[in-house]
Every structure is written in C-alpha cells, then in structure tokens.
Symmetry: C2
Subunit: 268 residues, 2 copies
C-alpha cells in the first residue's frame, strides 16, 4: 500500500486544517500518517517543520501533503520552499473570500479557535448541561434541554449527547429506557410533557450484546435474548409515543448528531 | 454591518464543510448567518437548497457563500447553477489530491464521518474513559490515562478533558485540587506515580470568582479572597511538583487541548 505523511501546520491550534484530514477517507488505497504541528509561529519552528517534511518524504518514498494555515506571509513562503504538495487554506479560502467580501482578513495567529469566536460560551454551557443531565441523572431543568435522547442502556446516547453539546452547543439530556419502563409499558412520566424534543436511538441486538458483554460478560443483562427483548420493547414504546428514532449500529456520533439536528430542526 | 449567509451543503453530515466555517472568524466586519444542509443527496433536496440560496441573497442584499461536498457530479453541477460564491471541497481538495496521489477518490455520500473512519473506536473509548474519570470520580484505571488534568474547581478541566477525548481519542482523566490538598501542601497521593502525564490548568482569580458566583453566589467558595488563595496555593503545589500548566482564562478548549497535546507530546 502507498504511504504518505500528511502535515497539518498552523500558527494556531491546527484544528481547522485538521478537520480537512477527514477528506483523506476518500482515498482508502493510501496509508496516511497524520502529523499535527500547531503553534508554528516562528521561523525556527518552520525550519523544524521543513526537516520533518524532508524526513517523511524519504521514509515514505513520496512527497508529503501539507495542509496549512499561516497568516504570516514570510513564514508561509519559507515553508513552501519544501518539496511537498501544499493545500494552503489562506490561498484557497481566506484570500478568495476576502475578494468576494471586499474586506481584508485578520491575519493574526489562532483566530479561528479563540474564545472570542461566536457561540463559544453557548457551547461550554451546553457541555455542562449535558454532563449534568446524562443518563437520567436528574429530572430538574429538562425544560431547558434542546433535545432529550432516549434508548436502551449502552446504545450510544451519551457520546452522541456530548458531541451535540461540544460541537453545536445543543443542550442534550439523555434518559435510559430501563426494565421498569418496559414493565409499565410507557415512557418515564417526566418525559411526557417533553415529547416534542425527544429523539430515540436504537441498535441491533447483536451489536448491543457485544457492547454489553465487554463490560458485564455472561450476565443476563448482556445476553442476546435480553438485548432482543429490550430493543423490541423500547421500539414499541417509542412507536406508541410517536417518537422518531435512528439506528446507531453503524453510524458515527457525527452522523447521528446530523440526523438528530435535521429531524428536530435544530440549527447551530 | 454587511450581511452574508453561508450554506454548508453536503451529501453527508456536512461536518467537514462546517469546520471551515471557523475561517469566517477572519472577517469580523461581516455578519454571517450559517445554515447547514446535511444529507443533501437527491435532486429534490438540491432544488430546496437553491430556493434557500435565492431567498438568502434577496434578504442579505449579497450573494451567499456555499461551502459544499457533493460526490455526485449531477447534483454538484445543478447546485452550481445558483448565483452564489462556491467553495467546492471536491474541486479544491479531493480532485487535486486524486491527481497528486494518482488514485481515484471514493465518491459516495458521507464517507468522511462514517464509523469506518480510522480511530473512531479509539475516540469513543476515550470518551467513555474520560466521563468515568471526571472530577477525581475514581482512582482506578489511572494507569490507562494518556493525560491527567489537575486544577482548582471550575477552572475548565472537564470541558477540556471531554474535547481531548472526543476530538483526538486522548484518554483524559481529571482531578480537582481541593482544600484538603492545600492543607496537606501536596498533590493527592494517588497522583504521585503519574507525574509524567499530569498537566495543570490555572485561571485568573477574577474569572474564577465570576464563574463560581454563577453557581454559588455569595458563598465563601466563590469569594475573590478564596479564589485568590486557592489559585496561589494550587500554583505553588504544581510548581513544587514540577508540573507544566496553562492558563485557561482566555483560551478555548481547542487552544488548551492543542497546548496540552504539544506539551505532553501526544499525537492524534
């Protein structure tokens, strides 16, 4: 398999450049090594980056890909003296946008991820809310929730809630559906007045069995029969209550979050 | 102030396109409205997107910016019939990378954020670990931690830990430094054998006072005198133990995480 090293070189966190690393998934035929070089904001650090680029080229037998955001023109042009394939976010995005908007861009370091960025406080507040409303931990403050996720234990509610909060500033509470609910045959009473913001997660029995077995191997809780039964009952409860749900079996938290935001018409 | 609407239009989650939205922070002179249109994978949905683009142009008095990832060529060219400023991640990144790598890209929808993506399971495992090791909740399993954050209560340990886990798959435990530690004049005993992976957070007294006052207004805990005292003592403890720390007062979780990864030499 072909090998290439991809460098994310930024004068700030490198997180925006790093996000484009996901596009490498479109090339499964190449084995990528990803290297982040944040806070590359001096000529000395650029020189170190150039050495790393050279070493990687020799090791891989192919020139590296460099995804870069450097506001300083001298640092930028020095880095580009290296033999690499450059994707420069200033050249590709910021400078053309500057023409389109007829407005000079800020060129300082670390602008994209400063606390001054819009919505930062909302995101942090949402993270706190979500951690305090994980796993049905409390019934208080549910009226503040943007979304309430429900589903059987270990179907993916917690990581999805955390992602919604951290990425989009969505206050996401989550409630497990438990044997008590199944016996009663209805959703927890506290949820009845919040039906409009409930979203369900479900999962395939085989996958749930595997996940639960990792923690409580051989238990009734983890058995395939119990998983089947719980899932079937949870889906009936959700269907009767008119709740939309999605299957988490083969979906990432990113995909689930995008689906949830679309279906509950949240914007971020 | 100038107004522009920015659309993120994708056949998948739109999260990669959305990440580029952070670059808009370079243009503080324009007021951007950001609209996400994920799962835009049919001609009907493209038509709806085109209507939204047209409406936004009329409302803003300027053509919208469209940041797009559409694998399907017909959908892509139809969308581009709209009057907008297009940033096409296929044109700008994937197609040029394809030439550079001499390899055809996958063009299906939602490739970037599928669970097949590298490291997905590591990230989810790290999120579980981090939530189970929040706020000194347990001493067990600390040997598995990649990083242990310490600092006074409410200085930003939890959101930073969660970000490190979710974004980079770093198993980040966190421990509060509490009055008991200050009286004893040393770090909690359990941490002594993990000094090499401890990273400290500190904060300005005025900021801590404000944050604590939101929750426990008027308490001794939130008083500026107590905040000053706790922070000074915590910094002395960390200094004596040779621990590196960063000030969270004016840094985002993204910035803190990038600093922590750099100083502790973690790669993601």
């Amino acid at each position: 398999m072909l090998k290439r090293t991809v460098f994310f070189i930024s004068d700030g966190t490198g997180i925006t450049a790093g996000a484009l690393g996901k596009l490498l998934e479109h090339f499964p035929g190449t084995q990528f090594t990803q290297v982040r070089l944040p806070f590359t904001d001096t000529l000395d650090k650029i020189k170190l980056a150039q050495e790393a680029i050279l070493n990687a080229a020799v090791e891989d037998g192919g020139r590296p890909v460099v995804i870069m955001t450097l506001g300083n023109l001298e640092l930028r042009s020095t880095l580009k003296e290296s033999n690499a394939y450059f994707i420069d976010l200033f050249n590709t995005f910021i400078d053309p946008l500057s023409l389109e908007l007829d407005q000079k861009p800020l060129r300082g370091a670390g602008i994209a991820h400063s606390v001054m960025g819009s919505k930062y406080n909302d995101r942090m507040e949402a993270v706190n809310f979500t951690l305090n409303h994980d796993d049905g931990m409390t019934n208080s403050g549910l009226e503040e929730a943007d979304v309430i996720l429900i589903g059987v234990s270990r179907c993916g509610k917690t990581p999805t809630s955390v992602y919604l909060a951290m990425q989009f500033g969505i206050k996401a509470a989550n409630y497990p559906l438990i044997p008590e609910d199944f016996e009663r045959g209805s959703l927890p009473a506290i949820l009845h007045k919040h039906l409009d913001k409930i979203f369900g997660l479900t999962i395939k029995p085989e996958r749930l069995h595997a996940v639960r077995n990792e923690r409580r191997s051989g238990s009734f809780y983890a058995s395939i029969e119990n998983c089947r039964q719980e899932i079937a009952t949870a889906e009936t409860l959700m269907r009767n209550a008119g709740i939309t749900w999605a299957d988490s079996t083969s979906r990432s938290v990113e995909e689930l979050s995008a689906i949830i935001m679309e279906k509950t018409r949240k914007t971020a």
